[in-house]
């Protein structure tokens, strides 16, 4: 048997190593945030938000069309994905205590682990091939397919948080099931569902891989759902892998804008959740 001093020493060494793990995990995060802010901030200007990309060699230009494109594509994704995802979540919470419910829940969990690039190919087959062109719609469909399983699972968890007594009280007053679900249970869970939607929108806005061959890219403004559309993420990728230094700077500035967009969506989600608790 080791001496007590030796065992204590091992205890402190392991505690130290575990604390070190925290430091190791935070180093890349701090480095990344610092670089995005410090290198991205210099390029921020009003025209960067409003102008379309400038050709190589020309100064100025912006990513206005890419910001608009991201919002447009994510908007399409929400129109398709939110009703399906939230609906499936409500089903799992309200009627999901069956074998079918278990199966659906498990499949939703597994689907949330499917790589996003695979989903891009699915949207390509579903929309791009029949339409014979890349389009904002295809990008929206890809993001919607990504949203449905995660949104279903988080919605279910939030609806299940509604106390059972509330439902029972409503049913005891003679309110039919559907009105109880809609007016009592869902209304109580509404704040939570908003949080789930905002978080999944934040995730969708940051996706690149499924957009590469669905919405492709566009150097100009586009508001037609059946045309290729720029997106912030694809624009960052193109700028980053280009051989031009001034484009690298634009990649950092675009990344800063993307982080602000994703961060504010996630923050809004957290605030909604906090207000609900109070």
């Amino acid at each position: 048997m080791n001496s007590l001093a030796a065992r204590r020493a091992v205890n402190w060494i392991m505690t130290g190593l575990c604390a070190l793990a925290l430091a190791v995990a935070l180093v890349p995060l701090v480095s990344l945030l610092w670089l995005v802010i410090s290198r991205g901030f210099a390029g921020l200007s009003w025209s960067f938000f409003t102008a379309i990309p400038a050709p190589v060699g020309e100064t100025g230009g912006g990513v206005g069309n890419a910001i608009a494109g991201t919002l447009y594509i994510v908007g399409i994704a929400c129109a398709i994905g939110v009703p399906l995802g939230v609906g499936a979540g409500v089903y799992l919470a309200e009627r999901g205590d069956t074998r079918l419910g278990d199966a659906i829940r498990f499949i939703a969990e597994v689907l949330s682990g499917v790589p996003s690039i695979v989903v891009g190919i699915v949207a390509y087959g579903l929309v791009v091939i029949p339409m014979r062109r890349f389009s904002a719609l295809a990008g929206g469909v890809a993001l919607a397919v990504l949203m449905v399983p995660t949104l279903a699972r988080s919605t279910e968890e939030l609806v299940r948080l509604v106390p059972h007594a509330l439902r029972e009280a409503s049913l005891a007053l003679g309110v039919p099931q559907w009105r109880t679900s809609l007016r009592v249970v869902l209304r109580t869970a509404l704040g939570g569902i908003m949080t789930a939607i905002l978080l999944s929108v934040a995730r969708a806005s940051g996706e690149t891989a499924p957009l590469l061959f669905t919405s492709l890219n566009n150097q100009y403004w586009n508001w037609r759902a059946d045309q290729p559309t720029a997106s912030l993420t694809v624009q960052i990728f193109n700028y980053a892998v280009s051989p031009y230094n001034e484009w690298h700077d634009k990649a950092w500035t675009s990344a800063l804008i993307l982080l602000l967009l994703v961060g504010s969506l996630a923050l809004a989600g957290r605030l909604v959740a906090r207000r609900r608790v109070r």
Binding site: P115, G120, Y124, P176, L259
Partner: protein
């Protein structure tokens, strides 16, 4: 007699009608139930569509090359219509392995620190940056990897590794920066929050009495963790690792930007390679002809199959560990 009983049942029939009458009041309930069921089934429809589209686009190309040849052939030559997936499979496995080796100790250490050692106030402060790490888009990780990590690897990290561990084939060759090692490190950072958060979830289900029992017998805190906490949580941590691995295998943008994009198979971690998602990302939009598109979709099908199997196994492990180790043994 028979006719009489028939008459009796026939006579009873009208009496049943009033019993079923209240059902008419429940029509909105039926509609609501039916509508919910349809929405729930949407998840199954999405799953079916994913499988159907992948098989539809990728199937012909696999049959054209043959499944075994497709997976074992190491030549990818688009101009000659030769499609071998081996370099991409190799690159995906190597980068994911590097990522796991780097991320697993840090994640488990971090999870242990936050659940077993740190005071609750630290835990609530730290949980925010960890969730931040999970929320950063992968293209931003790629950007960081390309302009921060890769130059750092080129000099001084890779020359240093070659000098100290250069006797291993893993750490030989010119220090380019772009390559398996860079991709593995970026992946490690990206899967860290995944593994950590699930490991924390699993560790929190370990009953306090187990820990207290060990402590009461005179164990130090680390001994209590080693003897009673970790064995209990083992299945769940393995599950968490598999979920992290699933994420690493399918991660696209960050890997595409730092792996070097060269369809070769090299032993050295310093050399540029390629991965399954990266080749799809680079070539799919400009694929030349149906066979090329199909071959890329076949790669996606392969990736899909592997991640689904991994996810199913991982979810089952995490579920089992939530119920305790006795069920795991059964």
């Amino acid at each position: 007699m028979q006719t009489a009983s028939e008459i009796v049942t026939a006579a009873r029939e009208p009496e049943r009608a009033p019993e079923s009458a209240p059902a008419r009041v429940n029509v909105p309930d039926r509609v609501w139930s039916g509508g919910l069921l349809l929405l729930g089934l949407a998840v199954l429809v999405v799953a079916a569509i994913i499988v159907a589209e992948l098989v539809h686009i990728g199937g012909p190309a696999i049959l054209h090359t043959g499944v075994v040849a497709f997976v074992r052939n190491s030549v990818w030559d688009v101009t000659r219509d030769v499609f071998g997936a081996l370099p991409f499979i190799y690159g995906t496995l190597v980068t994911s392995a590097v990522a796991l080796v780097l991320a697993l100790p840090v994640s488990v250490g971090l999870a242990l620190f936050l659940t077993e050692m740190a005071p609750p106030s630290v835990r609530s402060i730290v949980s925010f940056p960890i969730s931040l790490l999970a929320g950063i888009p992968s293209v931003v990780y790629g950007l960081w990897g390309l302009f921060v990590l890769v130059p750092l690897l080129r000099r001084p990290v890779e020359p240093l590794l070659a000098k100290t561990l250069g006797f291993l084939p893993l750490f030989q060759g010119p220090p380019i920066g772009l390559g398996y090692l860079a991709a593995g490190i970026v992946l490690a950072i990206m899967i860290l929050p995944t593994i950590t958060s699930i490991a924390i979830e699993v560790l929190q289900t370990v009953p306090g009495t187990l820990r207290e029992g060990a402590l009461a017998l005179g164990a130090t805190r680390w001994e209590a963790i080693r003897v009673s906490v970790l064995p209990y949580a083992r299945a769940g941590i393995v599950g968490a690792t598999m979920l992290g691995l699933g994420r690493a295998l399918g991660e696209t943008m960050a890997v595409t930007m730092v792996i070097g994009n060269s369809p070769t198979i090299r032993a050295s971690l310093f050399s540029p390679g390629y991965s399954l998602p990266a080749v799809i990302a680079n070539e799919f939009a400009e694929a030349s002809g149906d066979l090329h598109t199909g071959a890329l979709a076949a790669l996606a099908l392969l990736l899909f199959a592997v991640t689904v199997v991994l996810n199913i196994a991982a979810r089952l492990l995490v579920r089992m560990s939530r119920r305790g180790p006795t069920r795991v043994a059964a």
